[in-house]
Amino acid sequence: MDNQQHLNQSGQQAIQEYQQMIKQAKPKPPVIKNSFWAFVVGGTICIIGQGLMNLFTAQGLGSLDASAATATVLVFASALLTGLGVYNDLGKFAGAGSIVPITGFANAMVAPALEFKREGMVFGVAARLFSIAGPVLVFGFVTSWLIGLVTFIFT
């Protein structure tokens, strides 16, 4: 009991001291290495995207249709690689480099779909499909409303 009181009384001080100890004990994340690989992998995905875009444009698609076709191919490729268990290995060292591009969005939807398949199509796959990607959509929509509002006011 007195130990508990001790903890509560000197609570704030004990907590601060302990946070300092943790800070020293924790390994530092290799920020430069992580940034480098995020840049290389993220950049490579974007180059592939640009290559596809150029290819579709050269085949005679308009720029809107070419963008849609590029996104479709990238999303399909990411979904396939997620299903084959490769995309998470890529994410392990690429970090944001494989999360930020559209392929990361596809991975964030396919991964829960695979994971929760055993809970059924409705309450498993369908209900959990947006468990990671949902916030991206919500904030994407909110941002587009705001931009629309700004455009509406100033033009």
């Binding site: 943790i22 690429a94 970090g95």
Partner: protein, 347 residues
């Protein structure tokens, strides 16, 4: 009025120390490839174990561990008075469904990763109190069931923090008996929930370390023992960061344990196995203590061991609501008892 078998603030000393007469451990392939692989009773080639879901696979691990422990003692489920078991899943489904199959009177436990030691401490109390002759204990965890409940889907391509730990796929079980051959549980120190404000769910070692240190310090004070009186002090799943913090916290209290202290989470995997800080989960301490520790005690490498189950009482709901992660640590003293005499406490 204090209990007649109580020692100091939080420790029980058993009048007739119960005996660990057998154990069974089952692990997944990754754990089998680790440095302790040869110690485990069974290594599964596939972590799904041919089951229809990860949850069923975890149940199969636990049931298998119970079966191995019963078989090696030559016992049937009907010979057991009480089953004490738990796991990490919501509503402790691994333990509940396994208990349904075994038909032994059952008390389900949740102590997060401290469950194995919690169950052994309680089992020893039931036996020394005269309420049971034989108690079966067990705990399990599975990498895939824990990930999907506490963290992210397995195929999600995120980067794990360096402080993160790898949930052990495995289950361990022990049979405790009033009589028989084997190491005995002479003391149990029941831990308090200690929380020094760690909120990072990917740094559970730091969240648990203060509780484990508190239990070690209290145990030594309650028993009046010095760390040198133990051949080994082993914690459940603090991994590298938590282990370093425990050493510092215990040394602040004036005890030097670094020479004899280790952690199951630090020895179950090899650093090349990409587990970051080390192993975690109920299964981590259950399989290491049920195999490596007991086998090395039987060989005479360790005679008196202080084993501490460490639990991060983590809830994804509470974490999202900004709460810190409470930790807990329960300790038991295991003592080799080669002459098999049934007498008073070991000291």
């Amino acid at each position: 009025m204090p209990g007649i078998k109580k020692l100091g603030k939080q420790t029980c000393r058993f009048a007739n120390p119960p005996v660990i007469i057998s154990s069974g451990t089952v692990v997944g392939p990754k754990e089998g490839q680790g440095p302790l692989g040869p110690y485990f009773h069974r290594v599964c080639a596939d972590s799904l174990l041919g089951e229809a879901s990860w949850e069923r696979a975890e149940r199969a691990l636990l049931k298998n561990a119970f079966q191995l422990a019963l078989d090696s003692a030559g016992l049937q489920p009907k010979d057991i008075d009480v089953l004490l078991a738990g796991d990490l899943l919501n509503q402790i489904i691994s333990a509940n469904y396994t208990a349904r199959d075994l038909g032994i009177p059952f008390l389900g436990l949740y102590g997060a990763c401290s469950t194995m030691v919690e169950s052994m401490a309680l089992g020893a109390m039931l036996i020394d109190g005269g309420f049971a002759g034989r108690v079966l204990q067990g705990a399990s965890s599975h990498y895939n069931t824990a990930e999907r409940q506490f963290r992210a889907p397995a195929e999600f391509g995120n980067q794990r923090a360096l402080t993160a730990q790898w949930t052990v796929t495995g289950a361990g079980a022990t049979v405790l008996s009033a009589k028989g051959m084997g190491p005995r549980i002479t003391h149990a120190t029941i831990g308090k929930v200690v929380d020094l404000g760690v909120k990072d769910a990917s740094d559970m070692g730091s969240a648990m370390a203060p509780a484990v240190a508190d239990t070690i310090i209290t145990h030594l004070a309650d028993t009046g023992r010095k760390p040198e009186e133990y051949d080994l002090i082993i914690s459940g799943d603090l991994a590298s960061i938590g282990k370093a913090l425990v050493q510092q916290l215990v040394s602040k209290a004036g005890y030097e344990i670094s020479e004899i202290y280790t952690d199951c989470g630090c020895i179950i995997y090899d650093p090349t196995q990409d587990v970051h800080a080390g192993g975690s989960g109920c299964g981590c301490s259950a399989v290491v203590m049920g195999s490596y520790l007991l086998q090395e005690m039987a060989r005479g490498k360790f005679r008196r061991v202080l084993a501490i189950g460490s639990g991060a009482l983590l809830s994804p709901v509470a974490t999202l609501q900004g709460e810190s992660i409470p930790g807990i640590g329960h300790a038991i003293v295991l003592e080799a008892w080669p002459d098999n005499r049934v007498s008073g406490a070991g000291d």
